[in-house]
């Protein structure tokens, strides 16, 4: 998604330094001060994880730390909220994955 550079009330968007990070081993560029969620959305990525059981795709919901829908792994620390974590150069972000489930085999199931 595009950044909002011009705003009728807030004015021009201030210039920010570029920050390079990886998401699932692909390199992306965000801006200083971006959260992981914002940097990824600005790269048109909405899916941050797949539900642990059903495997369905999930993105941000509240964007302010309340819902825990946006959990990702940041520099090997699991369960970080993408909407609260600010990107840093060389940060390694990985999407939350569906867990292998030996008891329920094949197909998809409801959550």
């Amino acid at each position: 998604m595009d950044r909002i550079n011009h705003h009728p009330i807030l004015g021009e968007r201030p210039k920010k330094e570029a920050v390079t990070f990886t998401f699932d081993n692909t390199t992306y560029v965000g801006e200083e001060g971006d959260t992981v969620a914002v940097a990824l959305l600005s790269n048109d990525i909405r899916t941050l994880r797949h539900h642990e059981e059903s495997g369905s795709a999930r993105g941000i919901y509240c964007n302010i730390g309340h819902c825990f829908e946006c959990r990702v792994t940041v520099n090997d620390i699991e369960g970080c909220r993408a909407c609260l974590t600010v990107i840093e150069d060389n940060m390694k972000v990985e999407s939350g994955k569906r867990l292998p489930n030996p008891l329920k085999q094949g197909g998809s199931f409801d959550e």
Binding site: R46, G59, I64, L84
Partner: protein, 410 residues
């Protein structure tokens, strides 16, 4: 160890921190967000007198003021547990332990989820999420969106998105269920909307809201509500359409809507798909009060305040010794009320901590100020807020009578 820990760097917490620090207390403010300001950050709207309320600017000002008053502000730190021992609070965060004599909970409010089929698809978000994305983070939440839920908050935020050049295709009601009468019945929704008439340049809303005072007229105006919807700002608002389902394969592709009758029931054969790449759900707000429960503070359930609220007096004291509350944790209201409540809490804490006579007077004056501000608030989330406040005061008085403990501020 500090004199006071404040959880929440929203308007209530920041305002309280400034006053307490300027009067000699050592104050630490903790907030899990990376920026100070809380939900004030994303607020941007024009008030009755035409002035702009710029929450981002207000937040920055409060933050600078707090820093220059000597407040220590710890951002990006989540409070996960609280313990009260004899004369000290221990506040557990995700990174460190903090201790203080006094504790002020100013944790604000959260949006109640409004589940609807398809709502977990990437691209579906709360209106508050879109507000922050647009106004604070300056990235478009999407190119073309549908807002489900027609409320004061939803409308104020829809206007913000519109202002930033984001295409809102329409605002519709949610499908009626057993639990959401308040949000899905066109009559109820019309009534709540009349409270933001001044924010709506649309002649229809402005013109109709005085008439809405009469139930009969309200019925009439909803019945004759244009089926095509009407335009507030630049987008159509449909009080006679409901979202049945959000559709999409692995992300939002659109919303399936249907026409509804005056009671909110879908009319068969009228289903259509509105294409969209994002959807905002506007539910209600409720006080974020879990931390108060950890302290053993009793609660009152008051719908007018937004749900379960820690028991407190108008001086923002609670039944728990050295525990105070301020802002939306005490009931859902606008940011200006939260600021004023922060002031009350600050003077109450100062009076308790120093026993100075002159703070007593300040407490009383700031309590009066809250009511004045409440009466002039540009946004009112619940039309019956004053009844909610009265209920709380009555419960407080009952609690005082039952307990021999004399109020530390009486």
């Amino acid at each position: 160890m500090s004199d006071l820990i404040i959880v929440g760097a929203g308007p209530a917490g920041l305002r309280a921190s400034i006053i307490c620090a300027r009067n000699g207390l050592s104050v630490t403010v903790v907030d899990e967000y990376m920026k100070a300001g809380g939900r004030l950050l994303g607020q941007l709207y024009q008030e009755k007198d035409g002035e702009w309320w710029n929450g981002l600017q207000e937040s920055e000002r409060l933050y600078e003021e707090a820093l220059s008053s000597g407040v220590e502000i710890k951002l990006g730190l989540s409070v996960i547990h609280i313990e009260n021992s004899e004369n000290a609070w221990t506040v557990h965060t995700n990174a460190e332990l903090l201790t203080s004599s006094y504790l002020l909970l100013a944790t604000g409010a959260a949006e109640a989820p409004q589940p609807i089929d398809g709502w977990t698809l990437p691209g579906v978000m709360s209106v508050g999420a879109a507000q922050v994305m647009t106004t604070v983070q300056r990235v478009k939440p999407g190119n073309a969106g549908v807002i489900i839920g027609i409320s004061v908050l939803g409308s104020a935020i829809a206007m913000e998105l519109d202002m930033a050049g984001i295409h809102i295709k329409s605002m519709v009601l949610p499908k009626k269920t057993e639990f959401n009468e308040e949000f899905a019945n066109p009559l109820h929704v019309m009534e709540s909307l009349s409270h933001i008439s001044h924010l709506a340049p649309s002649k229809l809303i402005q013109w109709s809201s005085p008439l809405l005072k009469w139930k009969y007229m309200r019925n009439l105006s909803t019945r004759f509500f244009p089926k095509r919807g009407f335009k507030i700002w630049d987008f159509p608002v449909h009080l006679r359409k409901a979202a049945l389902e959000i559709v999409g394969e692995s992300k939002v592709e659109g919303v399936k809507v249907a026409a509804i009758d005056i009671n909110g029931n879908p009319i068969e054969g009228t289903e259509e798909i509105i294409e969209a790449d994002f959807v905002c759900i506007a539910g209600g707000l409720y006080p974020l009060a879990e931390l108060a429960a950890l302290t053993g503070c009793p609660f009152l359930d008051a719908a007018e305040l937004g749900g379960y609220v820690p028991l407190h007096s108008e001086k923002m004291e609670t039944p728990v010794d050295r525990l105070f509350v301020a802002g939306n944790i005490t009931g859902i209201e606008s940011a200006k009320v939260a600021l004023a409540q922060g002031e009350v809490a600050a003077y109450s804490i100062l009076q308790h901590a120093t026993n100075h006579e002159n703070f007593k007077e300040k407490v009383n004056r700031s309590v009066e100020n809250v009511q004045q501000i409440r009466d002039q608030a540009p946004l009112s989330f619940n039309p019956h807020i004053n009844e909610g406040r009265k209920k709380m005061q009555n419960s407080w008085n009952e609690w005082l009578n039952e307990h021999t403990k004399s109020s530390h501020l009486a």
